[in-house]
Amino acid sequence: MQGSNCPPNPEEFSGGRGSFDGIRLHENTMPKQPFWFFLTWISILWYAYLVFHVGWKGFHDIRRMIRDLESDRKG
């Protein structure tokens, strides 16, 4: 996994081997260990989303649960 995820070493592509601008562009834009980079940040963003989404919907779940329990208690 390590080898496949590593960006190419610039030294391997220097000196008389033509232009490798495409590879250099890839090297400049893609973070090191992209799999772990994206997984880490998707996890953090997912948590932020859950706080708002589950926070909002969960509040309504609690209200519904209390309403049902209240009617059970009275009934």
Binding site: Y47, V54, M65, L69, E70, R73
Partner: protein, 484 residues
């Protein structure tokens, strides 16, 4: 950087009062044992997600996953990825959780009783409680260590701080049961989520991604990114973890209690599907903090205990105001975990160990009273075993292998109970004994380098015990015997 100011105390105070008020407010709705143990089965999807996520993220989780990141890099997050996959697959297929929720049982041993008889119910209840309580025993101390290090409060106040915290949890859990746990879990999930996101952004701002990757690579090598080539992991470890995480999803009682509290099986499956990805972050986010501690913490500040590296790093990082938020979020993590675990193990003790011994069933009033007394008794056990008693040796090895004693056998029992008509009581007993054998031998012999082999052997012996024990027992004869 660290200065614990009045703003921090204020945030913590507001959080604690809010939790207490919400927890106590639910007390009035507890009229039956079913309300107390499974919230009257009134739980909907989003409340279930909040409760499951908050329960399964305690301070101890942050501590040992950060340690995994500190020692094993990104590869330390592999159990979380495996757990997420297992939970998503079980949620999508309804494997085990569909029949379990549809059975109407209050606990897993109660379901096992219907297939294998009372002795298996009692024996499985005993194994579950034993494994669960031994696991939970160390939560308070490790949670306290985090709080003391980050807040800068001297370690000598650890016992008294955590005793007060436990008392707060005991009050609302004892009075409101699962209803209080669900509502307080919801609040704690919000606080915990905010704290985790804020700290992660702060860590990322402090340690650049490139320097983190380079630092981890130079210190831990290729194994930091690939568990298969990690010297402390490897293929057998990953396979064992895959089995372990599947067993957790199918049988860990705090997880299963959310299945049983759901309105129906569809809600239970939705909770699993929508919570599954949470478990990636549950391991990866604290591991990220642990790796940042490894790379950024000055050598002079590096603690000798690797478990303390992450909180020591956060202490140097967090400004006034944010310390209060982080401590409140970790208090939320600790309290939501403690309350759920207290309720879970007490419900097994009541429903599967004490109640079956009585000829005359408990009345609802007696049942509630017994449940509350058991929770208080577990609280006392936790204080003396987990807080005042110092465990010798490495905590994580101890936790994982003791958990395996019950996870392997009960997961085999539950699967056989739901899907294998030929399974018999003898097979169930053989699975429980077989599943416990390898981990116990491992613990006695102390072969720490063979932890994955012992874990795999535990699953193999549990499955073998069930298959051969069942096939060697004439099913018809056994049924007649049970009927007689």
């Amino acid at each position: 950087m660290n200065s614990f100011g009045w703003i921090d105390w204020g945030i913590i105070g507001v959080y604690l009062v809010g939790t207490m008020v919400a927890g106590l407010a639910m007390r009035r709705y507890v009229g039956k044992v079913e309300h107390f143990i499974v919230a009257g089965r009134e739980m909907d999807v989003h409340l279930g997600i909040a409760s499951l996520a908050a329960t399964e993220f305690g301070i101890i989780t942050a501590m040992y996953t950060a340690e995994l990141g500190f020692k094993n890099g990104f590869a330390g997050a592999i159990p979380g990825i495996l757990e997420a996959v297992a939970m998503a697959v079980v949620g999508l297929t309804g494997f085990v959780i569909n029949p379990l929720r549809n059975s109407g049982a209050l606990t897993i041993p109660e379901l096992l009783d219907r297939k294998f008889g009372m002795q298996v119910r009692w024996l499985s209840g005993l194994v579950i409680v034993l494994g669960g309580l031994l696991n939970m025993g160390v939560f308070l101390r490790i949670g306290g260590e985090f709080l003391m290090i980050v807040s800068g409060i001297p370690l000598k106040y650890l016992e008294i701080t955590m005793t007060v915290l436990l008392l707060v949890v005991l009050v609302y859990t004892t009075l409101g049961g699962m209803l209080s746990v669900l509502v307080t879990d919801y609040l704690q999930f919000i606080i915990l989520g905010i704290g985790l996101v804020v700290v992660s952004v702060l860590v990322a701002a402090h340690v650049s991604w490139a320097s983190l990757v380079d630092g981890v690579q130079s210190r831990l090598g290729d194994g930091a990114f690939n568990p298969m080539v990690s010297p402390e992991m490897g293929v057998s470890y990953v396979v064992w973890q895959a089995l372990n995480q599947l067993a957790v999803v199918l049988t860990w009682q705090t997880v299963i209690q959310r299945v049983l509290a759901s309105r129906d099986a569809h809600v239970a499956r939705q909770v699993y599907i929508k919570t599954s990805f949470f478990f990636v972050g549950r391991f990866l986010i604290p591991a990220f903090w642990g790796m940042a501690a490894l790379v950024a913490l000055e050598a002079s500040k590096m603690p000798t205990n690797s478990l303390h590296a992450m909180p020591t790093f956060l202490k140097t990082l967090l400004p006034t105001g944010l310390i209060g938020l982080v401590i409140a979020s970790m208090l939320a993590a600790e309290m939501s975990t403690d309350s759920s675990y207290l309720l879970t193990w007490s419900s097994i003790l009541y429903n599967d160990i004490i109640a079956p011994l009585r000829k005359k069933p408990f009345s609802e009033r007696q049942g509630l009273y017994v449940n509350r007394v058991i929770i208080l008794a577990i609280g006392v056990f936790l204080l003396f075993y987990g807080l005042w008693y110092q465990l010798p040796g490495r905590v994580w090895d101890y936790l994982s292998i003791t958990g395996n004693i019950y996870l392997s056998s009960i997961s085999v029992l539950v699967v056989a109970c739901c899907y294998w008509k030929r399974a018999t009581r003898i097979g169930a007993v053989a699975a429980i004994v077989g599943g416990a054998l390898a981990p116990i031998l491992f613990l006695i012999a102390g072969w720490s380098q063979y932890v994955a082999i012992a874990g795999l052997a535990s699953f193999g012996l549990a499955a073998g015990g069930m298959i051969f024990g069942s096939l060697l027992t004439p099913a018809k004869k056994l049924e007649q015997k049970l009927a007689g």
